[in-house]
């Protein structure tokens, strides 16, 4: 289709951008309540990155150890290093129980205990009775929980008649002539045709942006598309300095090895064969918070106690568990270790390194998923715009997410968004009749890529990933980040001049990758600016030049504004819904 040709239009009550766990839970809620809802996804929904989640979904069912949602809440607030919003965390942990039972009723094939109830395994940062003994809180379908969850949600959406637009790439959301959120501009990848989806509500469920780093567990598709859209629309991004390094990515390959391995009794050893986590976290050991374990590993490697010819990784030991446990509870991990590390964990430990895994920051929302704008004053809700899942920052994960809390975030808040749209549908107003001019900016972004000569997007993308890896890693300093910022600014400037040689309209993936690059640049920019600004260490943000947590000055959310790379702040919601505040304490495991 030539530039300027007519847009195809579709109208729905609500349009969900992204078909991962959060998007599909939101669309399911709406479809089941009789709304006309579309899921617009750049990949076939079951290919979304939720599918790669392994270890499980955390919920205080109490099937294995005594448990209570309030204990789950305590652990999550502590895990967040006290900048998670306590109202949202209470909502998460209370609702976690019901949503997991719902998933079971939908058919999710959970592993089972002997009495037939859902199997739960211990995960990092889980305690009984507010910091007491280890809890077993993570519900699992072997080590394929994300796959089982995503397929179950997709199946239920089929059942309830959700409209799927598979392999449609969303370019930008669209406002009507009065400035209200009114829809989404998308490209049908197969044909190259441009579509305008008109809707009374737009839900961004586009996932994370871990592809800004060279070493990541994230899929190619994790390019932060929703964050790019929000920033281009002049709205802020929150807490972008907080990136989780998962302790156990396969060294060299980056592929995830679940925390469930340590939950089942595996542990880490250094080059001296020492179980070093006993030194760093005497109580929780290998099941301390992920930030704590990742930093300990990085220190071991930096101090020369790594493993291998270059002493650049450590080992995850599972062989003592026996083949029965590994085959029953960690079968996919065994497959991954054999394929990507060349070792069978039944006999040989897996080489692992801390690997970028999860974006705690994102699009600021309240606990209903409504997107929040704030430029120096009070919070303002952006009517008709929602964000949910990894792209959103509610914030329930604060400065460090606990394992198993991501899947539950998707489902609890996906449902909450669906409910909120449904409960307030009359007030949202009817979808507007959009004309082509409303999509001009987005269409221009597509057309500019067709220039004959220009920069190679793949080279720029890889250089940006190298830069973020080297200058915004596990340990950060003003100096390394400033150097990184200078390199990044040059690369970002060149990104304005990318050219896509492929001129075919049919399934042009080079063009999609170039559009994704815009979003990666936004995510990277927000990350460096926010990380430079926060002069303390908290959760996953570890500053070598500011090693202490500083509650006096930094108990607040960072807001990144794309115009002029400005920083603002929002207060943390310290007041839960019904219980008392968990006040900040030193965080030890």
């Amino acid at each position: 289709m030539a530039a300027g040709a007519k847009l195809k239009k579709r109208r729905f009550d609500a349009v969900v951008v992204g078909g991962g766990g959060a998007g599909l839970r939101a669309s399911l809620e709406l479809a089941a309540r009789g709304y006309h809802v579309a899921v617009v996804s750049k990949v076939f929904p079951t290919r979304s990155h939720t599918v790669a989640a392994q270890g499980g979904i955390t919920s205080a069912l109490g099937n294995v150890s005594p448990d209570h949602w309030h204990w789950h809440m305590y652990d999550t607030v502590k895990g967040s290093d006290y900048i998670g919003d306590q109202d949202a965390i209470e909502y998460l942990c209370r609702n976690a129980i019901e949503v997991v039972y719902e998933l079971e009723h939908m058919g999710l094939p959970f592993s089972r205990l002997d009495d037939g109830r859902i199997y739960q395994r211990p995960f990092g940062g889980q305690s009984q009775n507010f910091g007491g003994p280890q809890a077993s809180r993570t519900c699992a379908a072997a080590d394929r929980t994300g796959h089982a969850l995503l397929h179950t949600l997709y199946q239920q959406n089929l059942r309830h008649g959700t409209h799927f637009f598979d392999e449609f790439y969303s370019v930008d959301f669209i406002r009507d002539s009065q400035g209200r959120i009114a829809g989404v501009l998308a490209i049908e990848i197969e044909t190259g045709e441009r579509y305008l989806f008109e809707a009374a509500a737009v839900v961004l469920a586009t996932g994370g942006g871990g592809r800004i780093f060279k070493h990541t567990t994230n899929a190619f598709s994790c390019t932060g598309d929703g964050l790019g859209m929000v920033a281009r629309a002049g709205l802020p991004l929150q807490d972008m300095e907080f990136w989780q390094f998962h302790p156990t990515g396969v060294a060299g390959a980056g592929v995830l090895v679940t925390e469930g391995c340590r939950g089942e009794g595996g542990y880490l050893v250094n080059g001296d064969g020492e179980r070093f986590m006993e030194r760093y976290a005497p109580n929780a050991k290998d099941l301390a918070g992920r930030d704590v374990v990742a930093r300990s590993m990085a220190l071991e490697i930096m101090e020369g106690r790594g493993v291998g010819p270059r002493k650049d990784h450590v080992l995850l030991k599972l062989d003592h568990l026996g083949s029965d446990i590994i085959m029953e509870r960690l079968p996919a991990i065994r497959e991954i270790a054999i394929k990507f590390a060349g070792v069978d964990p039944i006999e040989t430990p897996i080489p692992v390194v801390p690997t970028v895994h999860y974006m705690m920051g994102g699009i600021p929302t309240n606990r209903f998923g409504q997107v929040i704008a704030n430029d120096g004053g009070e919070d303002e809700i952006v009517p008709r715009l929602y964000a949910v899942g990894e792209c959103a920052c509610v914030s329930v994960h604060g400065a460090n997410r606990l394992g198993g809390n991501s899947l539950v975030d998707l489902v609890v808040f996906g449902r909450a968004v669906g409910r909120h749209i449904s409960d307030n549908f009359a007030e949202l107003g009817a979808p507007a009749d959009l004309d082509e001019s409303s999509a001009e900016l987005g269409l221009g972004r597509i057309d500019r890529l067709a220039r004959k000569e220009g920069e190679r997007p793949d080279l720029l993308r890889e250089e940006i990933r190298d830069t973020l890896q080297a200058h915004c890693g596990v340990f950060r300093t003003e100096q390394t980040m400033r150097e990184g910022w200078i390199k990044f600014e040059q690369l970002a400037g060149r990104c304005e001049q990318v050219a896509v040689k492929d001129a075919c309209e049919i399934f042009n993936t080079a063009r999609i990758e170039a559009l994704e690059l815009d979003n990666l640049v936004t995510v990277a920019r927000a990350t460096i600016v926010s990380a430079l600004n926060r002069t303390e260490s908290r959760g996953a943000h570890a500053r070598d030049d500011h090693r202490e947590r500083d509650d006096e000055h930094w108990l607040k959310h960072t807001l990144y504004h794309g115009d002029g790379d400005r920083i603002g702040y929002r207060p943390i919601a310290m007041q839960p819904l019904t219980v008392e505040t968990f006040k900040p304490k030193p965080r030890t495991y």
């Binding site: 076939f44 290919r47 990155h49 058919g107």
Partner: protein
């Protein structure tokens, strides 16, 4: 390393052709997907394929590799006979290069009503399921819908509109085998058809092709057995 890749651009080509590439795989290139993306980045950005998780769990990059269906991201470069001949999955319409139109495949998947249906009242907590009953689902629920199996099946090639195919039948059995699903009879009635189920002639290409080591033929046999035991 030499690769011979199926190319088809419907805007400029009347018919597809194999194009040869010679590349020096980078030090980190271990799998076929790495080599294909290296060609896309460095040689020809128009080379078209699907990919996402690069760890064999999303099911995007099913293709035909030296005559066998598999996932490019978990096919090691080491040991591949050169030139590596890479074609789209056979039997489905080609959209462009290595990208096939999977509508027919997904239509068959949807036709088995691949979702749990239960007429039992919903309990307050989880439904109970004995570990042994849950174990019946192992080898069934792990399907990633990559279509490697169905597109290796001659019966699916001839009757993609009428034969459910191995992937769809594996899913059908996943719900028949689930003790929580109460619609077994309806599911069996729906499949009791000369085409939908009985076009399977146990050629077993599907078992060979499945990158997740699942066994659709076994599931199909179990559907037939369940049908038979119902009639007896």
């Amino acid at each position: 390393m030499r690769l011979s890749i199926y190319r088809y651009n419907p805007e400029t080509q009347r018919s597809p052709q194999l194009q040869d590439f010679e590349i020096e795989p980078g030090p980190e290139a271990k799998f076929l997907l790495d080599a294909l993306l290296q060609i896309k980045d460095e040689v020809d950005d128009s080379l078209t394929l699907r990919r996402s998780c690069r760890e064999g769990v999303c099911g995007s990059d099913g293709m035909n590799i030296n005559g066998r269906n598999g996932l490019a991201c978990v096919t090691p470069l080491k040991g591949l006979k050169e030139p590596v001949v890479v074609r789209p999955l056979p039997g489905l319409p080609v959209i462009r290069d290595l990208v096939v139109d999977m509508s027919q495949f997904f239509k068959q998947y949807r036709s088995v009503k691949p979702y749990l249906q239960s007429d039992e009242p919903v309990p307050l907590k989880e439904r109970l399921q004995a570990p042994a009953d849950r174990a019946e689902l192992d080898g069934l629920y792990e399907c990633i819908l990559c279509a490697c199996c169905s597109t290796s099946c001659p019966s699916f090639w001839w009757n993609p509109d009428k034969f459910v195919g191995p992937a769809g039948l594996l899913q059908a059995y996943r719900f028949i085998a689930d003790t929580r699903d109460t619609r077994t009879n309806e599911r069996l009635d729906d499949l009791n058809d000369p085409y939908r189920l009985f076009r399977c002639h146990t050629i077993m290409n599907c078992v060979d092709a499945c990158p997740k080591h699942l066994n659709p033929t076994k599931a199909i046999v179990k559907i037939k057995e369940t049908m038979l035991s119902r009639e007896l």
